[in-house]
């Protein structure tokens, strides 16, 4: 097991390096093809020469290789790697440390992800188990139909409807009924409040979770159906074990394996949902920071944040793999 983890970690370091190379090349070519993002910094006014040079420096684009299309800019890449290795992730255009920005925004996004993951698992396990248990019955059809319907509804529609139709009257009512700092008033606040991070992220997180839960329901259902027809369930039944026991211990527990794997896989995908949710609910999170950075051509912020995100994702993947191995005795570590 130890050797398996070690090998996975080494692999992960390689993957991280490749991710950084790919990102570096993408951003470099984007800059070379599109010209200087520093110009956009000045809006309608023409910057003087030294101003432009100073801003290029701020963007980290003062190396002449950025003016030569096709030049991979290996020099700046190595410099950046060295800086990252020393824990220096650079600053944004305004001189604020990337690590500080991430430290401020990451907790908000993490809270969102916690709520989302919890919603996925709850809805997936409950509805998926019910659908599998009563396969082909109205409950099964009803669940499948509803989840598909929710799945087809774009997440931003769900959130917009919630924000503009639900929150305003409910929040007002809760304020007058229970006071503005009461739980119900905070739950239905039209936008995030950093002073009450959990309460105000709860419902947006649940909505985001609900909108992505269909895949989990389907996954749990499929894997449990497989279990129901599997040898071990037949054996357990033939031993005369009570149905409840069989379902809980042989079917539901086994179906948790693919679900855990899936949580790891959709982690980066959830970032797209996070960008939408954070934007609409005014949450100052990683999705929003990254979005703003890309739009503002803040290269060092983009690369810094993505590198940190990639580290997290890779770690999550390793943890998932290890969990997978631990949960499923059939998997060997070679």
């Amino acid at each position: 097991m130890g050797r398996y983890i070690l090998r996975r970690v080494l692999q992960a370091v390689g993957t991280l390096f490749l991710v950084m190379v790919v990102l570096h090349l993408l951003t470099t070519f984007a800059i070379q093809l599109n010209g200087n993002p520093a110009l956009a910094f000045f809006g309608e006014h023409e910057p003087s020469a030294s101003q432009l040079a100073a801003v290029e420096k701020r963007y980290g684009l003062d190396d002449p290789c950025y003016d030569q299309v096709g030049n991979p800019c290996a020099g700046p890449f190595v410099d950046r790697l060295v800086a990252y290795a020393q824990g220096d992730f650079g600053t944004n255009l305004r001189g604020r440390a990337v690590t500080e920005i991430v430290a401020q925004s990451a907790p908000h996004t993490l809270r969102l992800f916690v709520v989302v993951t919890f919603t996925w698992l709850t809805i997936g396990m409950v509805l998926g188990s019910v659908a599998a248990r009563w396969r082909g019955r109205p409950a099964d059809h009803g669940i499948r139909f509803t989840t598909v319907l929710v799945d087809a509804l774009p997440v931003f529609v769900l959130l917009l409807l919630y924000k503009f139709v639900v929150t305003v009257p409910v929040h007002q009512w809760a304020r007058s009924e229970f006071g503005s700092e009461s739980w119900p008033a905070l739950w239905f606040r039209p936008s995030f409040d950093a002073d009450h991070p959990w309460a105000t992220v709860l419902i947006p997180g649940i909505l985001l979770g609900v909108s992505g839960s269909a895949a989990f329901v389907r996954l749990v259902r499929a894997s449990q159906l497989e279990s129901y027809s599997g040898e071990h369930v037949r054996t357990a039944r033939s031993k005369g074990l009570p149905e409840r026991y069989v379902v809980l211990h042989h079917v539901v527990r086994n179906s948790s394996i693919p679900v855990v794997t899936a949580v790891g896989l959709v982690f980066t995908e959830a970032l797209a949902g996070a960008v939408v949710t954070e934007g609409l609910m005014n949450i100052n999170g990683m999705g929003g920071v990254l979005w703003g950075a890309v739009k503002g051509s803040d290269v060092s912020l983009v690369l810094g944040v993505v590198t940190l995100l990639a580290v997290v994702t890779v770690v999550v993947m390793i943890v998932v793999d290890v969990l997978y191995a631990a949960l499923d005795p059939r998997i060997r570590y070679e």
Partner: protein, 298 residues
């Protein structure tokens, strides 16, 4: 003899599917929208690009009137937009899934058949792509090709989103195919074929592929549905299909703010089209999976 199991599986599936009422309804819906995408002229004679600002946000007038479904904020005919918006939305989905399938199956088979460095390379590329957030890649690629003129035809308007979504859509297929090829690779019929001197290419295309393709087929309709949904989100973020080109996603994104503004039809019509299409695809996908996976047969 080697192809026999796959063929019967397929024909079994077909036989079990064609009499299911939900499958029939789903297929009819799908065909309806495909015809709409292919021949928009059959459904409306109004140009979706003719917008008269003075006629903005007219309520639906019913069939026979000038604007059966009303008009949007710019005074464009909503029905014409819906009909002409079907093509980019569906084309995007089919192109993305089609190309992703080809890439995924090819790489999956190659990786599983040759193992060694090919396998290492493929799994590594998959891992790298799983780590990069889709949205970030979309933004970067979009800014990368910003200066490139892709033309204003249907293909041009969907090229960039198609490129990005394809890049991130093939990994699932590759993993599935790789797994199932690994499973059948050591079966007798493959060993036999090899002993008889069949080339690698022949073994892969004639013996391995047909067996691997079953489980992947079931994924296709759901993936198409997923891409249609993803297009809507990209449009909402302003990096999908861009105006004045039209797509359902764009219409939903533009219409969503008007639900509370007293013009819900701007959202409801395109949303209904999208939801019904996605629903039909998922029903087909589920049915296909049930039919193709003998283990699930009751």
């Amino acid at each position: 003899m080697s192809e026999a199991p796959a063929r019967t599986l397929m024909s079994d599936a077909w036989r079990s599917l064609r009499f299911r009422p939900d499958v029939i309804v789903a297929a009819v819906v799908l065909v309806f929208f495909l015809v709409m995408a292919a021949f928009p002229g059959l459904f409306t004679s109004t140009s979706p690009r003719r917008c008269v600002i003075g006629d903005s946000r007219l309520a639906p007038q019913g069939f026979g009137a000038e604007h059966p479904f009303g008009t949007d904020s710019f005074g464009c005919d909503l029905l014409a937009q819906l009909v002409h918006g079907a093509r980019p939305s569906l084309l995007l989905a089919f192109v993305v899934v089609g190309i992703a399938l080809v890439i995924g199956i090819t790489l999956g088979v190659l990786a599983a058949y040759y193992l060694g460095w090919v396998d290492k390379l493929v799994t590594r590329v998959i891992e790298v792509l799983l780590v990069i957030p889709l949205l970030l890649a979309a933004m970067l690629l979009l800014s990368l090709f910003q200066g490139v003129d892709v033309g204003s035809g249907t293909l041009g308007t969907i090229l960039l989103p198609a490129l990005v979504l394809t890049m991130f859509a093939w990994m699932g297929y590759a993993r599935y195919v790789r797994a199932s090829v690994l499973e059948v690779k050591n079966h007798d019929f493959v060993t036999a074929a090899r002993a008889l001197g069949a080339s690698d290419l022949r073994i892969m295309t004639r013996h391995l592929l047909p067996n691997a393709i079953g489980p992947v087929t079931a994924l296709v309709p759901t993936s198409i549905a997923g891409v249609i949904g993803a297009e809507a989100v990209l449009s909402f973020l302003g990096i999908g299909v861009r105006p004045p080109a039209i797509s359902w996603g764009l219409m939903i994104s533009n219409g969503s703010e008007w639900v509370t503004g007293g013009h819900p039809h701007l959202l409801l019509y395109p949303l209904a089209c999208l939801v019904v299409t996605v629903l039909a695809l998922v029903v087909l996908g589920d049915a296909l999976r049930d039919a193709l996976d003998p283990r699930l047969a009751a």
